[in-house]
């Protein structure tokens, strides 16, 4: 199956799904939210599937960008503006650039583009489908007893609230993460430096 046909198939499937969701959105009491959700979710799912199916590593990195940005869109929908922006800055603007950089620096590797063996493809498909079936079945099929003491759905948290939480309740994880980043920075800088013999 050529790359183009695969992508077309994914595109078609997702288009149908998004159209159905869009139609459902018209019946919803908050059509704009439903519409935006179907757009972002559709883009996310498309990108995720494309990452699995595409054979070119640079293209999977590009699809990863699509997935990350649409996940950021979902965060915006969930009222997590700060998180959405952090996702865009750190993930899409930082980690993804790092990954693309890595791809380009290791670009001359002979297996950059490869055809997996049929057995591997079957295994991956099996793993993916099984995991999806199992998790979605138990996630959607479980009873979700209401939590004691949980507050109901709240308005979007402001940056100020998040900042305060990070420096009070989550002060310790915050500091630990800063130590982690320091160590990681030193380690990564050391490893990526050219060897002087």
């Amino acid at each position: 199956m050529s790359e183009r046909i695969r992508l077309a198939l994914i595109g078609l499937a997702v288009l149908v799904a998004v159209t159905l969701m869009g139609l459902a959105a018209l019946l919803s009491s908050r059509p704009l939210e439903a519409f935006a959700f179907s757009v972002f979710a559709g883009a996310l799912v498309t990108s995720a599937l494309a990452i699995v199916l595409t054979r070119d590593i640079v293209r999977s990195a590009m699809w990863l960008m699509g997935a990350l940005s649409s996940a950021a869109g979902l965060y915006f929908l969930l009222g997590a503006n700060f998180l959405g922006v952090v996702q865009l800055i750190v993930y899409a603007g930082g980690i993804l650039v790092l990954i693309v950089f890595g791809v380009m620096l290791t670009g001359r590797s002979p297996f950059l583009r490869f055809d997996p063996r049929p057995a591997e493809t079957a295994l991956a498909a099996l793993v993916g489908v099984l995991l999806f079936a199992a998790f979605s079945a138990v996630l959607l099929g479980s009873a979700w007893p209401p939590l004691p003491g949980a507050v109901p759905v709240r308005q979007a948290a402001t940056v100020r609230e998040i900042g305060r939480a990070l420096l009070t309740d989550y002060l310790l994880p915050f500091e630990v993460v800063s130590v982690l980043l320091l160590a990681v920075m030193i380690g990564a800088a050391y490893l990526a430096r050219p060897v002087r013999r």
Partner: protein, 515 residues
């Protein structure tokens, strides 16, 4: 022809047809009709366009405000649920009681968020297109003046004002080549990945109190995120071109932009810390903190914000890959860097993105340090003029003289001009020098400044004597800033006047053959 060996496959000439042909034709005929008139009264046309634009903008704003008022009345009378669309019956029932029934009916579609958003997006796209074309023309003129040339002079008449338009038509009509061995999908996609974030940056960039597409509580971060996303388009373009110069350009771009994002963000942290918010407009925003005239601008709040303004400006040059940091497209080494292989419309998208980004970073500087859309003398304005219910004329005058999008664009364009000036004045750095200056000069400097600023703010909060001292300091800094601003303008004007007297001047402003 047959015996000439051509090492690359001969591209098939593309038909010049379809919408681009129609667009080109329409543009040419419009130009034919309008050009003589414009040629006769250039200054008049310019100011008429400016005034007309302001008028139209303020008219729309007025109608929107009026509409909001009407909508509130309607909601009260018709007892509609907020957030739900009004039906026509409700509208009719409510409109009887309302003064401005006519605009209400006319603007009925505006109550739908979708319509408002579509209009807003259209406005942003239009603005970016006009901005890019104007900035490209300006860049060429500035380059010419600085190099004792005169720049484009022919197309359109008055200083070649429609050169960019003509170039645009040419680019649309141009053949679109994709190099052999390129990743075709990525090659086509990359310019859009580069351009769309630049456009999205305008979503959260306010031009005036109400002049913003979405007033996000994380507005500033959102814009920074969009600026950061542009890199990926460049990287993909470089990779997909299947050309080593393109890849070099792209890798340089990635290294440079990712490195300079840190000092850029840290310099912005300083005014953000003073203001205590990331919101750019509204009740609790960076702009509310700077209200009341130029002494309140954050640039001279403390010595540290003053320094931060300059470090931010330098980092923003690198973020827009402008000289002296234009390594990614260093033409003397890398042909044209990441866009070596691009031509036609896709090529022009990169430039749209670049000029849009230049405007955005300048706009952020203006918003965070230089009082945003307020004129320096906004404190002198009669209080009644700035009211939302003031008469239209008063609002218009207020917008032109004291505070409004006009001022925002003016200030931002001044900074864009400054960026161009630097580009044609300074030599280019080497890539190791670029990274050295980021990691070992600007980054430590911003860290020190950030730390010092923290202590400065703590002292401001605790000591009255220090507050007096700080006011003296900021007064001095404000004067210094004013002197710098005036000096910049004076030097630029003097250079413009003197350019014909300079040694080596080749062109003179007189009618050219065929002009």
């Amino acid at each position: 022809m047959a015996d000439v060996y051509v090492p690359w496959p001969q591209p098939r000439a593309k038909e010049f047809r379809g919408p681009s042909r129609a667009a080109a034709r329409a543009a040419v005929s419009a130009y034919r009709a309008g050009a003589p008139w414009v040629r006769k009264h250039p200054a008049l046309v310019f100011f008429a366009l400016l005034a007309g634009g302001c008028l139209a903008a303020w008219g729309v704003q007025f109608l929107c405000q009026e509409y909001v008022r009407v909508e509130q009345r309607l909601l009260l009378t018709a007892r509609a649920q907020p957030g739900q669309w009004l039906t026509l019956e409700q509208l009719a029932a409510g409109a009887v009681e309302v003064r401005a029934a006519v605009p209400a009916v006319l603007l009925y579609p505006l109550q739908m968020l979708v319509v408002r958003d579509a209009l807003g997006l259209l406005g942003i796209i239009t603005f970016v297109s006009i901005l890019a074309m104007f900035a490209i023309w300006l860049e060429r003129k500035v380059a010419g003046w600085i190099q004792s040339r005169i720049g484009p002079m022919r197309v359109g008449g008055w200083h070649g004002w429609s050169q960019s338009l003509a170039d645009g038509i040419k680019l649309i009509a141009k053949e679109d080549l994709i190099p052999a061995g390129a990743d075709r999908m990525l090659y086509r996609l990359a310019p859009y990945i580069n351009f769309v974030p630049a456009l999205m940056g305008f979503v959260a960039l306010p031009f005036g109190v109400y002049w913003v597409f979405r007033n996000l509580d994380v507005g500033l971060l959102f814009i920074l995120a969009m600026l950061g996303l542009e890199v990926i388009g460049v990287l993909l373009a470089g990779w997909a071109s299947n050309n080593k110069w393109s890849v070099f350009g792209a890798l340089r771009e990635a290294a440079q932009v990712v490195a300079y994002e840190i000092p850029m963000g840290m310099s912005l942290l300083i005014p953000i810390m003073v203001a205590g918010t990331l919101q750019l407009t509204g009740e609790d925003s960076v702009m509310a903190r700077q209200a009341g005239g130029w002494f309140n601008w954050l640039a001279w709040h403390s010595p540290w914000t003053f320094v931060a303004m300059f470090t931010y400006f330098i980092a923003s040059l690198a973020a827009c890959k402008r000289a002296p940091f234009d390594l990614p497209e260093a033409e003397s080494e890398l042909v044209a860097g990441f866009h070596t292989e691009y031509s036609g419309f896709r090529w022009s998208l990169f430039f749209f993105a670049e000029y849009a980004a230049m405007f955005i970073v300048s706009g952020i500087l203006v918003l965070l340090f230089l009082g945003g859309w307020d004129a320096p003398w906004v404190g002198l304005a009669p209080a009644a003029w700035g009211e939302p219910h003031a008469p239209l004329g008063a609002q218009l005058l207020y917008g032109v003289i004291f505070s409004g999008p006009f001022w925002f664009i003016l200030k931002a364009m001044l900074l864009v001009y400054l960026q161009m000036w630097l580009r044609w004045t300074l030599p280019r750095l080497r890539i190791d020098q670029v990274l050295f200056s980021c990691v070992q000069v600007i980054l430590p400097l911003t860290m020190i400044v950030l730390l010092a600023s923290v202590f400065w703010e703590l002292a401001l909060g605790s000591s009255a004597a220090f507050r007096v001292f700080s006011q003296v300091v900021s007064f001095v800094l404000a004067l210094v800033g004013a002197v710098i601003a005036v000096a910049i303008v004076l030097v630029a004007l003097a250079g413009l006047r003197q350019r014909r007297a300079l040694v080596g001047t080749m062109g003179v402003e007189r009618p050219l053959p065929g002009g």
